[in-house]
């Protein structure tokens, strides 16, 4: 390990320092609401992005640093930038929300930055140990964020459930890692990959290890049957936190999933493909069917995010180049759509409470036509209707799945997309076709919050722009492939 190894690591170092600075700066800045400290945190995220462009990119091919613990490659850069974008948008949306609820912004922003640091390590970990450390750093920050509204019972309940189940799943994941270490003698991903070719394939302990690691990953992406924490945690968490955790941790969990299963364990694909096929199908069916009757928009979007993890899993089942970059593409597309949809939930207020019920959206098109049109874009996108980005994302996943020969999985996902139209359009029907409660003297209103409005506008523009002009994102997602040794 030389000093030069730290240069590509500078973005992570900077991000960690920024987390402490934001935490401390939150004390003096906090007197004027959360906006100044959140602006500082967003500036830190922007600076991190600049650092990634300056020093954090691979010069030529993947570059192992810090004693082979981390790898700097295009694949990691893709997810790091996605995490930065999602965190910045979530922070900007959170500013007004925190002020209204009278919680401070300093700790909030610094927890997001620490979670981002964990996710950076997950995205570029080249060793099971470093991956696990990144995962835990992310998870611990997120547990606290879910319970951030400490005076609210639902927030606490969500955090505790998430923590208990998360800790249990971490234990199982660690057990799986130890089994893999025991059979291959290494935690280094590349060494494991090479050793796997020599170990007899029917080695029970090895397969048990792979199954348990798969379990840990499925838990993190909230796939059925390991999704159980999701609805409660998503509903209980402060809405900007829900927006954040439904997007960024899910994306990097997929990054780690891909690095392990499309990279390291690719040789054992015949053993884990069936598991992922079942998980993907079950997740799509469960998420979409369970979302149908939800009356709370956050809970509905929680089930919807479970369903989207199922769609993305199709790319892993396909196990091809096309499937892998389709997952990258889908995570980026899904991030903007989901953040935008949660953004509107953040802004809607009904009689002094957050407008989280479906009925709160009634008649919105008449009172706030712009907001309703924006929500329509996100609902169309999540349902996968062209010309939004959601359609493009699903199209590539379907293409990869069909090409790999998993026609039935594609058929299930198409059918479930049709089911999903029902609950996404329940909201659209409320907005456009319902009059709003006549006796209700103060129907739900969109708060005017320029920050959140701007963040939502960015999401809406991206949702449409990627749908019409996907080429740059596709090219970028494809560039992430070579790192996995797939091409």
């Amino acid at each position: 390990m030389s000093l030069a190894d730290f240069v590509p690591f500078l973005p992570e170092i900077f991000l960690g320092c920024a987390g402490f600075i934001v935490l401390l700066a939150g004390i003096p800045l906090g007197r004027r609401g959360s906006r100044p400290v959140i602006a500082l945190a967003v500036a830190a995220l922007a600076a991190t992005a600049v650092l990634i462009f300056l020093v954090g990119r691979p010069a030529a091919g993947p570059q192992l640093i810090l004693g082979d613990m981390l790898v700097v490659d295009q694949f990691a850069v893709f997810f790091k930038l996605l995490v930065l974008a999602a965190s910045a948008l979530a922070l900007v949306m959170a500013a007004g929300y925190l002020d209204r609820a009278q919680y401070s912004g300093g700790e909030f922003a610094s927890l997001i930055l620490f979670a981002d640091l964990g996710m950076f390590i997950m995205a570029s970990g080249a060793n099971l140990a470093s991956l696990y450390v990144g995962l835990e750093l992310m998870a611990l920050s997120v547990y606290v964020l879910v319970g951030y509204f400490k005076l609210e019972v639902k927030s606490n309940e969500g955090a505790v459930k998430y923590f208990v189940l998360g800790a249990a799943s971490s234990a199982i994941l660690l057990y799986g890692i130890s089994l893999i270490y025991g059979t291959t003698g290494s935690l280094d991903l590349e060494t494991i990959r090479v050793t796997l070719a020599e170990v007899p394939h029917q080695n029970f302990l090895l397969l048990l290890g792979i199954a348990l690691v798969a379990f840990g990953m499925l838990f993190k992406v909230a796939a059925v049957p390991f999704h159980v924490w999701t609805p409660d945690a998503y509903e209980g968490a402060p809405t900007p936190v829900t927006a954040f955790i439904s997007v960024a941790p899910k994306a990097v969990a997929f990054a780690m999933f891909l690095r392990l299963f499309a990279g390291t364990f690719a040789g054992e694909v015949e053993h884990w493909r069936m598991l992922l096929w079942i998980a993907s199908a079950a997740t799509m069916i469960y998420g979409n069917v369970a979302a149908l009757t939800q009356i709370n928009v956050k809970r509905m979007l929680a089930y919807s995010s479970i369903a989207h993890a199922g769609y993305a899993l199709m790319g892993l089942v396909a196990g091809s180049d096309a499937g892998t970059w389709a997952v990258l593409m889908y995570m980026a597309v899904y991030a903007f759509m989901n953040l935008g949809a949660f953004g509107f939930v953040i802004l809607l207020e009904s009689r002094g409470y957050a407008g989280e019920r479906i009925e709160d959206f009634a008649g919105l098109a008449r009172r706030h036509p712009g907001a309703a049109a924006g929500m329509l874009i996100f609902m169309l996108g999540l349902a996968g209707i062209p010309p939004t980005a959601g359609f493009m994302g699903k199209l590539y996943l379907w293409a990869a799945t069909v090409e790999a020969g998993y026609i039935w999985l594609a058929v299930i996902s198409v059918l479930m997309s049709a089911v999903s139209l029902y609950y996404y359009f329940r909201l659209v029907v409320q907005m456009y076709l319902k009059e709003g409660d006549a006796e209700d003297e103060s129907p739900a209103e969109m708060l005017s919050d320029r920050w959140a409005g701007a963040a939502i506008a960015v999401c809406a523009v991206m949702t449409l722009a990627i749908g019409l002009w996907p080429a740059p994102l596709v090219g970028w997602a494809k560039s992430g492939l070579s790192a996995l040794g797939l091409v």
């Binding site: 505790v160 459930k161 208990v164 189940l165 249990a168 799943s169 199982i172 029970f204 397969l207 048990l208 792979i210 199954a211 348990l212 798969a214 379990f215 499925l218 838990f219 059925v224 049957p225 390991f226 159980v228 924490w229 609805p231 409660d232 015949e270 053993h271 884990w272 493909r273 069936m274 598991l275 079942i278 998980a279 069916i285 469960y286 069917v289 369970a290 149908l292 009757t293 493009m392 199209l395 590539y396 293409a399 090409e403 089911v419 019409l468 002009w469 996907p470 080429a471 596709v474």
Partner: protein, 635 residues
């Protein structure tokens, strides 16, 4: 200069009006009217300037292949299926973008005054800009897929603008009719595209055409099928028999809309489509004959209907159908360039006539009945003179009008081309008589005789200037291509030559050509004289004819456009509504609703798994882990 022009990106041409649409749609409602007018007309004006620049570059240094291609981005790229967002300019699309942007710009300028009192000023210009953008995409498209996108886009804008004054249900009904009837044609078009893709494996226009020419035999069944399906799309969009019924009703939209969409540009998209895919049509002689027959029949039927209309805009609408019939006749006999030439001159004089009609209509406070007009020659001299020029060009008055030169070429090809026949020529010549009569009937009734209406306001400069420019174009626009007996200028055909082959002619005799020209010219003058005699000198005669039983029956038939609406109502609409009524309570629905019931039952079962207790959750996770291990170990 030429290099600068060649380096101008082509995508700017559709992007400018599209940007205008975005601005107006998002913030137009908050703009003062002046800004809306500047953005609305300015964006199309800028597109016209960009077109001019592209034209200079194209003509100054013609590309070697005859096409300037611009690859923008890959839109969909799945497996072997790739759809690019690519534009191409060749001579044919150059003519089209020239017509669309220049005529479009003049109509936008005119609209800034015409629509000045409308409360939805910015919505109007937003839709108009969107239309221009889609129309430009249609003609610049490099692939049939993109062309289809523009095709549907202009259909959408047509729908939005016919129903622009949506508070009157009749306008909404007219808009729906236009949309649904053209959709019948669009379906045929879509099937044609799928067939072409299935066989050629590409929707890229040049590649698909080259493939068809190499692989399909002349007269082969597949070529005929694709050509006829393409024709289906074209007759829907261009309001030709049997799908012509929507265009007269489309006059419910504001008059500038009728001028731009339902006369000058969108309705000629069918002509463009056939010219663009002429390779397929050349492989299908049956389809060519059908195109010519459709054109000939349409031009006669619509010409008769135009004779008896009383609404000024409906006269022009039937006239549009009839003139597009001429273009189809030209296409059907292989005179591709002549049809495109007539498309261009028609765009000039028909836009002029519609805008003139619009000026009359608002001067008389939205009066459209020609028998409540009259004597406007003295009250509206500017409108009168330009309208007269437009009518002369429509009637193809010999030597001095653009319409004469373009129509003459079509008629000559109908006679002389290999696939032509004296019958087709006779239909065209008969149509020429009808055209002259109905065109000048309109002039004489509206602008001569006694004053019957009260002129409330006079058109201003923003209306008169576009009229004048279009009047000039309606005259000089024909001098770019003249027959051999009259100077033999061949600029236009030379320009189109790399794209559209000349008509095959074997019987061409110079003497015959001059003789036929003289005959048609005489017929035209006879028609004008007849109109003068019937509507100025002896107005009692048409009245008496109308009063006779046979005359009344014929008038009623022609007034209703040969009763197609009633016919379609009987054989399509009513059975459809009846079947829809039957199916409403149909047990077939049970199949789909049972799916919904299963899903709902599944939902309630799954909801029970989410009971909020951590121990249930942990149990589920544990069970899942066991299953996961079992699946991995056992597979």
């Amino acid at each position: 200069m030429i290099d600068v022009c060649r380096s101008l990106p082509i995508w700017l041409i559709p992007a400018l009006p599209a940007a205008g649409f975005v601005v107006l749609a998002l913030v137009g409602a908050r703009f003062p009217r002046r800004w809306v007018a500047i953005v609305g007309a300015g964006s199309v004006g800028a597109a016209a300037a960009a077109t001019l620049c592209t034209a200079i570059g194209f003509l100054g240094r013609p590309p070697e292949t005859g096409v300037i291609e611009e690859r923008l981005w890959s839109w969909i790229d799945v497996g072997s299926f790739e759809i690019g967002f690519n534009l191409a300019v060749d001579a044919l699309s150059l003519v089209m973008i020239f017509v669309v942007t220049f005529v479009g710009f003049l109509i936008h300028v005119y609209s800034t005054e015409y629509m000045a009192d409308d409360s939805a000023y910015s919505r109007f210009f937003a839709c108009m800009n969107l239309f221009v953008a889609f129309m430009l995409m249609l003609v610049l498209a490099d692939s049939l897929f993109l062309l289809y996108l523009g095709w549907e886009g202009v259909g959408l804008c047509s729908y939005l603008l016919i129903g622009f004054w949506y508070s009157d249900p009749a306008n909404g009904a007219a808009a729906r009719k236009a949309f649904i009837v053209t959709r019948v044609g669009d379906t045929a078009f879509a099937i044609a595209l799928l067939l072409l893709y299935k066989h050629a494996g590409t929707l890229d226009i040049q590649a698909a055409m080259a493939w068809a020419a190499d692989n399909w035999a002349v007269g082969s069944g597949i070529a005929v099928a694709v050509a006829l399906l393409l024709l289906g799309g074209a007759v829907g969009k261009s309001a030709q028999l049997p799908l012509q019924v929507w265009l007269p009703d489309a006059m419910a939209g504001p008059t500038p809309v009728s001028a731009l969409i339902h006369a000058a540009t969108m309705v000629t998209a069918g002509v463009y489509l056939i010219a663009r895919t002429h390779v397929v049509f050349e492989l299908a002689p049956t389809a060519m004959t059908t195109v010519a027959a459709v054109g000939a029949a349409t031009l006669l039927l619509a010409g008769c209907s135009a004779l008896v209309q009383t609404d000024i805009k409906r006269v022009l609408a039937y006239s549009t159908i009839s003139q597009i019939g001429y273009m189809f006749l030209g296409l059907g006999v292989g005179a591709w360039s002549a049809a495109v030439f007539h498309l261009m001159t028609h765009a000039f004089f028909k836009a002029l006539l519609f805008l003139g009609a619009g000026a009359v209509i608002i001067s008389l406070h939205h009066e459209q009945d020609i028998f409540k007009m009259g004597g406007l020659r003295r009250r509206l001299p500017g409108v009168f003179w330009t309208f007269l020029i437009g009518s002369a060009s429509l009637a193809a008055l010999p030597l001095v009008t653009a319409g004469f030169y373009s129509k003459d070429l079509i008629l000559w090809a109908a006679w002389s081309s290999d696939s032509g026949s004296p019958w087709l020529w006779a239909a065209g010549a008969g149509g020429a008589l009808l055209t002259a009569v109905y065109a000048f009937r309109l002039v004489f009734i509206v602008f001569f005789g006694d004053e019957r209406g009260h002129v409330e306001r006079r058109p201003g400069l923003l209306i008169l200037v576009p009229l004048t420019v279009l009047a000039v174009l309606s005259v000089v626009g024909g001098f770019v291509e003249t027959p051999s007996a009259l100077g033999h200028v061949s600029f236009f055909f030379d320009l189109l030559d790399p794209v559209l082959p000349p008509a095959h002619a074997t019987v061409a005799g110079h003497g015959t050509e001059v003789l036929l020209q003289t005959v048609v010219a005489a017929i035209t003058l006879l028609g004008v004289g007849l109109a003068f005699f019937l509507y100025v000198r002896r107005p009692a005669i048409p009245a008496a004819v109308k009063a006779s039983p046979l005359g009344a029956w014929l008038c009623g038939l022609w007034l209703s456009g040969w009763g197609f609406d009633t016919l379609y109502d009987r054989i399509f609409v009513r059975p459809f509504v009846a079947v829809a009524g039957l199916l409403r309570a149909d047990p077939l629905d049970e199949i789909s609703s049972s799916v919904a019931r299963v899903i709902a039952a599944g939902n309630s079962a799954l909801s029970r798994t989410q009971d909020g207790r951590v121990r249930t959750y942990a149990f589920g996770i544990g069970l899942g882990a066991v299953i996961a291990v079992a699946v991995v170990v056992l597979t």
